[in-house]
Symmetry: C2
Subunit: 282 residues, 2 copies
Amino acid sequence: MILLDGKKVSEEIQLSLKDRINSLVERNITPGLGVIIVGKREDSIKYVNAKKKVCEKLGIHFFLKEFNENVSENELINEIEKMNNNSEIHGILVQLPLPMNLNKEKIVNTISVNKDVDGFHMINAGKLFLNHEKQFVPCTPLGCMELLDHYRIDVEGLNITIIGASDIVGLPLSMMLLQRGATITICHIRTKDVKQHTKHADLVISCCGVPHLVKNDWLKEDVIVIDIGMNMLDGKLVGDVDFLEVKDKCQYITPVPGGAGPMTIAILVKQLVESCERFSKL
Amino acid sequence: MILLDGKKVSEEIQLSLKDRINSLVERNITPGLGVIIVGKREDSIKYVNAKKKVCEKLGIHFFLKEFNENVSENELINEIEKMNNNSEIHGILVQLPLPMNLNKEKIVNTISVNKDVDGFHMINAGKLFLNHEKQFVPCTPLGCMELLDHYRIDVEGLNITIIGASDIVGLPLSMMLLQRGATITICHIRTKDVKQHTKHADLVISCCGVPHLVKNDWLKEDVIVIDIGMNMLDGKLVGDVDFLEVKDKCQYITPVPGGAGPMTIAILVKQLVESCERFSKL
């Protein structure tokens, strides 16, 4: 069994970005990330702080705007438009989820397509779906692809089962894997018997948020497992896969934490640096 | 075995549109479809003529612009922009495929999102992928959904295998079925053993263009089969499914011709009439 060490790969990506950021800074350009957070959700604050920490470490300007949960849609949209027009900001993200009374679609689609480092804008989603030339794609799926690439795992022709069909993880990841020639099965809450779809798969990816859902008898020998779940169980962060129970069956498996998670932030800053480089050429 | 009679359902849809078109005409508004064809491909001419015939029958204005295959990208784009600005045209389509030297993406994305009755524009693709409120979606996939609806086949929880992952049929259809709660497996040319993915499926959909690919032993008893293939074999139009060999095993099956095919045009004119109704309210 080989661990897919997302922490290590994430650090390598960050290191390679450091050089690119330095060349930008030499030309008096500092990459800048604009982040909007609404409310006081503990998990959202934790994710935003993790992004801030990486940005500070790499010398990326971090522009944080905090709103309380009573903020109006218009106030948010005004702030996004300010960031769209701010030449010091090369990427903008709105930390999700937003309070229910706010129109997430409208707010996310206000972000300039050219600064949409989270890849959630409908035009960037359309480009991914149609396999057009891509500018930004969702970070967690691209992180998984780069983790597979790092370990030289070629997905062409593999039978892959994905558990979870969200528009920010499961679906974009399905598209990326399809575009590389994998055969894809997408399961979700309304799938009758998920195990039936995992037990013959060459690669199983779980992103459904059910702690320890995937058990030993769900998998075939020598399977590859990518666990994108981040769940609290008895005060501990665990994935969707019962790691201890399945690990000896796996050819490769991601640990949780330290697998898909750290890759997400690495890809976010990578897309931000690419964006800054594009803007610097304009 | 029950035949999914696309011809009959298509005629019912056209009949229901007739009333809506009449109410528009009473208000001095005639729905208009702009069609651009490049070159002399026999199949393309046949498809365009079929659309023209239905439009004429329903009293829809049909604005055809024919170009020879040496037309420049700019000439096409100018023509599309004229149609975008022509208030007598409520839907525009460019007959595909285009000659290789033309940039299909650029040309299709020049069509106004609000007149994109084929649903191929990247913004309409993004809306479908993200399950946002939809304006236009690709006609063949929506035709399949309406055919299933007509026969009250509820796909929620069904295991569905789709053979063919094109961005205009297989993929959009996968998204529509997922959004209705089906579990989806997407196969394609690089799938190692397609039969392994069809033989336990509740519903098999083929849109890969290989005549008589799907055989009796590829299917389980009481399967539902939708055959979107249109292939010439020994001078005869046949589907991707070996109809005679499999039909007695099926709970439902589409014939070819007369199944998915006629539904496509019905949906095209339906989306056009909806577009005209939207414009008439502006």
